[in-house]
């Protein structure tokens, strides 16, 4: 089984994704192929991050949480740019790529990442945990 560490995500996957994003337009002559390639790279980074989160049982130290939040923000930023690019080429007559499907898949993944971000942007105290967990109690009048 592939081990998915934070270092692997940062160095090998997100690093490559950022490098690819920076050289996106100048280095790619075929715009549609470039969009498809970038989306594949983004998807691989997404899956690597999810594997890391599940391996960590969704439980991070304060420092790890802040570092992972940065990864999530990078992914959301690049993902939103990709979504715009896909939107531009969605009506392409290129039969090799189903950009509508790519658009739907990326939108769903971005929605899931925003949930991750929302759940990690604040820590939650033990007192707050009790407050939420005691929700079977009738609300005070």
């Amino acid at each position: 089984m592939t081990e998915c560490s934070a270092e692997k995500i940062d160095q090998e996957i997100l690093g490559r994704l950022k490098e690819s994003a920076l050289g996106f337009i100048p280095k790619q002559s075929d715009f549609i192929d470039a969009v498809r390639s970038m989306t594949g790279c983004w998807a691989a980074a997404y899956n690597a991050m999810r594997a890391y989160e599940i391996d960590s049982c969704l439980d991070f130290s304060t420092q790890d949480r802040q570092e992972h939040l940065k990864r999530v923000d990078v992914m959301i930023g690049i993902g939103c740019d990709l979504l715009l690019l896909i939107h531009h080429v969605e009506d392409s007559s290129d039969p090799k790529v189903d950009f509508t499907q790519l658009h739907e898949d990326l939108t769903a993944a971005l929605c899931a990442l925003r949930l991750t971000r929302s759940s990690m942007v604040h820590s939650i105290t033990d007192l707050e945990l009790q407050s939420f967990a005691s929700s079977d109690e009738p609300a005070a009048a």
Binding site: G40, A45, Y46, F132
Partner: protein, 111 residues
């Protein structure tokens, strides 16, 4: 003699709703990119969450700001989801989610 059947009209308790939200949270995190179920899972989570928050006035008193309320609630659900994963890992002697398995080979395969 017929067995007593559960009443289909009985509403789930708050604990059951929270448990369902935590399980959805786990499923969302286990579902790989491109899975057709991801959008449905997102939608189910958001609908259940909105309904739950609307039903609980004390959350609104605790966190008057709607964004903060939403984020704190998501944090709470992540905590519950984490407990589910830890319990499964304890029971199975290490977690190996059905959503991943061979999908690990997908890492960076398109880069």
């Amino acid at each position: 003699m017929s067995q007593p059947q559960p009443n289909p009209s009985s509403s789930p308790t708050n604990s059951e709703k929270l448990r369902r939200l935590a399980e959805l949270f786990v499923e969302i995190h286990k579902t790989p990119y491109g899975s057709p179920s991801l959008a449905d899972l997102n939608q189910s989570y958001n609908e259940l969450k909105e309904a739950y928050l609307a039903d609980h006035d004390h959350y609104q008193r605790l966190y008057p700001d709607p964004d903060l309320r939403s984020q704190k609630f998501d944090s709470f659900i992540r905590n519950q989801a984490s407990n589910i994963l830890k319990n499964r890992a304890t029971q199975q002697g290490g977690y190996s989610g059905p959503g991943w398995g061979g999908n690990r080979d997908y890492l960076a395969s398109d880069c």
